[in-house]
Symmetry: D2
Subunit: 355 residues, 4 copies
């Protein structure tokens, strides 16, 4: 039997960190070596997460100063932007894999990074060798990577939702109009993070719904970067409009793509089924379906339906995922499995919690 992967989670008190602990504590090939949470160093993990009582009893959060990050096989950064790049060099040099759930290693263009994240990128060389972490679209490039900039939650839903069309466009340029893409996305409120913000209170957000960031959202350039890569079309443009749902978890992206020729006889249902038939975590629903966020709640699956209303020129793709699992911690574990040669579903092969 293989020795267990020793994993460190940095940033254990946000929602992505907590979700990593939930998944890793039951992963058959992982041992959690440490959980770093600066502001809560010394606290019992289960005091903060009573749901983990019986699983992580006795474990305490540590601080950076008393944690040897290099004494493990992989470090997950479930931190704000800017943290992973401070530690990446040291970890890579020590042979430790880095999986950053924040944005430090997502955008290839340091200028774009500065503009959207309001900070200088401090290790452009590592950025150059790092790989964008989205297994279904980037598997081969990821396999031997030392640093992964894990895809964001919204981007994962949109990149998966458009993958078959992007690849088809690459093979048959001019089939789709890639300059008028629209992604109207809706996210459960855990996507806004675990922060003491009045606008995220239950009394404000329950029985409520609204858009935000319509004039520009950080995930937009990330999605465009990947869609251009997948389609090979650098003229591709996307309007991305995020909304906040009064649910705890779940992203639903409604994606609009136009065919250039309204008479094009392309069978999009079959295109999607073919493309994803070997992907464990991507489920193409039968024609005419409408995926629901509850049907991926707590699981690493994405479910997709593709429509062509009234046989017109508009393709409507509906994608659901759990923003904390396939959109964050689950995808991070899937990535770890890939990096360490394990079957990707290891520790993730559980159905959603519905109802």
């Amino acid at each position: 039997m293989q020795e267990k992967i020793r994993a460190v989670v940095v940033g254990g008190t946000g929602y992505a960190g907590a979700e990593l602990l939930r998944l890793l504590c039951c992963h058959p090939q992982v041992q959690i070596a440490a959980v770093v949470a600066r502001s809560h160093a010394g606290d019992s993990v289960t005091e903060h997460y009573p749901a983990l009582r019986g699983f992580l009893d006795g474990m305490r959060f540590t601080g950076f100063e008393d944690t040897d990050l290099t004494d493990c096989d992989v470090v997950f950064f479930a931190t704000p932007h800017g943290v992973a790049m401070r530690y990446a060099r040291q970890l890579v040099d020590a042979g430790v894999k880095v999986i950053d759930l924040a944005a430090d290693f997502r955008l290839r263009d340091t200028e774009l990074f500065r503009r959207w994240y309001k900070m200088e990128h401090t290790c452009p060389d590592l950025l150059a060798e790092s790989v964008y972490g989205q297994p279904e679209t980037m598997r081969e490039q990821m396999r031997s990577a030392r640093i992964i900039g894990l895809a964001g939650c919204y981007p994962t839903s949109i990149e998966l939702g458009l993958l078959p069309i992007m690849e088809y466009e690459k093979a048959h340029p001019g089939t789709f109009d890639l300059t008028t893409l629209i992604a109207d996305s809706k996210s459960g409120i855990s996507g806004a993070g675990r922060k003491a913000d009045v606008s995220l209170l239950q009394a404000e957000m329950n029985d409520n719904f609204h858009a935000y960031g319509i004039k520009g959202h950080r995930h937009q350039p990330e999605i465009v970067q990947q869609l251009r890569l997948l389609s090979g079309n650098n003229a591709l443009r996307l309007n991305f409009c995020p909304h906040l749902l009064p649910t705890i978890r779940g992203i639903h992206s409604t994606i609009y793509v136009r065919l250039k020729n309204p008479d094009d006889a392309i069978d999009v249902q079959r295109l999607y089924e073919e493309r994803f038939k070997n992907e464990y975590f991507v489920d193409v629903l039968p024609a005419g379906s409408h995926p629901e966020t509850r049907h991926v709640r707590g699981s690493n699956f994405a479910r997709i339906a593709v429509h062509r209303p009234e046989g017109g020129d508009l393709i409507v793709v509906l994608v659901v995922e759990d923003n904390l699992v396939k959109g964050a911690a689950g995808q991070a574990v899937q990535t770890m499995n890939l990096l360490f040669g394990l079957p990707e579903p290891t520790g993730l092969d559980r159905p959603a919690l519905a109802p």
Copy 2:
């Protein structure tokens, strides 16, 4: 002092009917003459609606057979499709105004009606004289109407959201691309009606979100009919994609419109502010805003924000309304006020319930 308007509500046990009772019982110029509810005739109204205890004590639902619909000034039909058209002739002949909250008098084209509602229209002559009921877009035509086919909930949000653009297009044809309109709408679950349907249970829909009717929804032809009328452009096309929110009330429509010329310097914020400055119930939010459904909860207001992300060719309009008020019962009362010469806000001049 003017005599009170004697109103009858037919269909008192659905959500729109209940909302009519909530609004009419406090309307200073209305007396509720009868509430018809076939399957509950004889029952106490407040037994079904304890929230109305203290307001409609002693009132009982009646059946059609024991109610003289012609003995009043106005009849509201908060019924399924097909009911109002059975009674309209008799009422009109008796000088009673008819306000139908269902679809009998919405579509001008009886063929379209048959296709979408699976029934024959039985009084095409009355349909021809009836007026579509949406005061902000159809006020002058409505004023002297005898029969009103009240606008649907989704259509109201989209028609209001596009009104300034439709009128601008009529005056300056070719400014906008009216063949690629998209309305991505989200509705609270009361919009699905008060019916014993497992898919609408709290245990199914709480913490959940999904699209429905992507291949075609009855409101689509209604919206297209009105937008063509407002813009004078019969080539106008619209993709309408509805979704169900895990909220009780509230519609949020996110509407996408493209400028034909990406360099067009049109000031959409000002266009919207100017158009609606005299409309009591339509509130254009400051530039950069994102309206929230809770800010219209229980009220007859629609709130609108208009964006042009990154100054590109796409205009994004965000509209919220309460589907049961501005989208149904409130608009019906506003319409009644208009028909009877009362100030439109009468009985509706209350702020939303937030939080």
Copy 3:
């Protein structure tokens, strides 16, 4: 026509303050003279409360330094504890009525106040003349009061729920066991206040439920004080167990009282109906009912059902109220009406928002 009451609201940015604005802006006999909100002085009120657009346009929050609190008829303090008592003397001397929604004038015993609120009471003389503000139980004492310490949200539900029993016990001592009272209360999350606290986030509290403060809650001594007053029994004891509901609004108190004699033939349904038959805002439901929090949502009504399961020695009283209305702002307005000689329902005579 009477001149309008000029009202100042201090603490305009919490939930009770916002609710006061919602109610006062439509009150036919009130003019809002100023809204004090220290940390937001200068901000537009409707920027914080878009739901009030169209009602308080142009009004701005003021600070204490630029507001003459004595230039009005009544000041509502919707502030944390300790604020009202700093201004009460000055206001009373100027002939301005004080209605404190916090706890400064609730407890008669300054020692208890210090123990539960961790501060010294600075004006015990004013406390002595102040009156506890709960119209249904204290109307006559309140009528000429200069300072009102408005009842808390939980206390209102429990004091109303037990009023007929307390009065019966006063007239017939020994009927009920007043040493084993239990109130198991559940409150919507707005009752926890509008504060940036992670434990109140939608992502934490939606689809969740828990008790809190089981070892002791500030409302317990307040309730006991009033129940002893109403029953004339100083040996009365109460266990009060509050819980947090994943709703925005609404309190449901389930109250357990034992008869001393299990064979006592007392007709509690009639006792309750008789006691409350002239109270506009207290609704005794028919025997066998279960009141629901939605049936008082946004309204000033309390609804009560009283049960005696299997004819045993236990009386179970079920009470619902909207914690922000009858439990705070609505009761404050009712109190103002009482103090200024208006009919108590003025500005409050609207049904609940249901669904």
Copy 4:
């Protein structure tokens, strides 16, 4: 390696049946032999439960007529009352274990059964040999049982919550007053079942809360039966007051027990910790805690806190469980593990889904 247990689930379309499928499809020692659902025979299981796509693909619901219930090791009845007793004889004779999640084998007294379930018990002999299924309180009796009448959801929470006190009372009679027990329970709405009932709609129950069945609930005699058994005190009485929460899952029972001697120095915290220290699925929280329903969401754990407010004579026990897991399907699987000699946590050793 042991051969897998062949399990049949009867009643696959209610919430408990669906939850059984979710748990059994990942159980390492179980093979699902058939899923009986009369009204949906022939339908694909995953068409009804898209969350199980990838796990039960290809499986179809069967009818009774085309299912040999005796061709398996265990049959779970997740059906309405009255079904299991029609099949129990045949199954027992064939050596198949019966686990009934309904009430056919819960009440020892057929007279009580008839009174509360409005039907005659058709196999009192089998009832006599059947065992009440609640592993923590009845483990030894259950081990060799052929028929299990699985404990109800509310009863499980209350029996676990009172177990240490019942046993202590048995050993030290007269410590507690067993004639004044009160259980104030709150259940998520899935506890009301998956039925097309208007009162369970999202639009009715979201943002709502109410009690029900105050005059008498079927679970009351079941709880009393078990508490009398555990305490050995047949004078024990309990008032049980259930309420419906606007959550999908989760039961919270708040239980009130009085000490006979208010000066009794009993250490209830220690009593509870000692009693449950070897129970995998029962977690006694540290003194002063308040368990939350989300911390057991989707898991088979019960979490308990015990309080003695102000050191008085009242003990307050707070218990949470997931009504569909520990309150139904999870407890059924735990029971199956026990009956077949597997470690009880097999297939159930996963943390709750929080947030």
